[in-house]
Point group: C2
Chain length 135, copies 2
DNA sequence: GTGTTTGCAAAGTGTTTGCAATTTA
DNA sequence: TAAATTGCAAACACTTTGCAAACAC
């Protein structure tokens, strides 16, 4: 079982994914992978960093989150208006979107199922399935 | 049955939805509701307008598409990178997203079903369900 | 020491807004 | 004619880029 409340060692998490454990990367990993799944925006991370007295820049946060996403440490989710969230939960799952709060929340796994997947267009295979329930 | 190949009268479509039938609105409705479902970006519409010798501006196309969306004539879909599409098909349906072509396509209706909808967060009701299958 | 990363400011992209001129009912 | 709409340019929000200084190995 994947335990959502295990605090992985930041340096390990980075080096295991082939990412150089630099100062701000360690700091941001520490902020994001604290044992609780999160859906954060770039601004959220900048705010969290500031609140933790981690000095960095907008560009570096973008660099870092993009790099983490490419390395498979985060999942990117784009909502209406181009609002981008980074999801720390990589297991297959879907989301509620609270329109009034502009906030994502995981849908508990294992209950919801998609039935009757239609034929795919010729020569295509499914890369991923995203379900968002707006509430 | 909703027929996707009926060419609705542009002026009627506008006035029935409480939208003033101005020149560019009629033109854009004519471009979009030609009997074939479409997923267009703002740039697409600007291109289509230009190709039809309809003189307008970026701002007016944004105004018009946003207005149509608010009035329930179009449905807005935002993809990764903030790419926005406007869908002329308002019936309940879902989409394939062709990643390499950055293009949406309707999934034929009636085959796919979502089973076991989980309990909603307290005090919430479903506003919409969006399913996107990346291929 | 060498190659990578950081962080600033500048540039880029997509979208909205202010406003005078125009159009619509 | 009064109210709404158009279209230009400027403003805006978000994201990426260029590059010199700092850092990691």
């Amino acid at each position: 079982m994947k335990c959502a409340h295990t605090h992985t060692d930041p340096i390990l998490l980075l080096s295991q994914n082939g990412i150089r454990p630099t100062k701000i990367r360690k700091a941001i990993v520490g902020l994001l992978f604290d044992g609780h799944d999160k859906h954060v925006s770039v601004d959220d991370v900048i705010g969290m960093a500031r609140a933790s007295d981690i000095k960095t820049s907008v560009a570096s946060v973008y660099n870092t989150l993009n790099h983490f996403t490419d390395a498979g440490l985060l999942r990117r989710i784009t909502m209406d208006g181009g609002r981008t969230f980074f999801d720390t939960n990589l297991s297959e799952h879907h989301h509620y979107y609270f329109e009034d709060e502009e906030r994502l929340e995981d849908i508990p796994q294992g209950v919801m199922k998609l039935q009757g997947l239609p034929k795919l267009p010729f020569g295509r295979r499914i890369k991923s399935v995203g379900i968002i329930i707006r509430v």
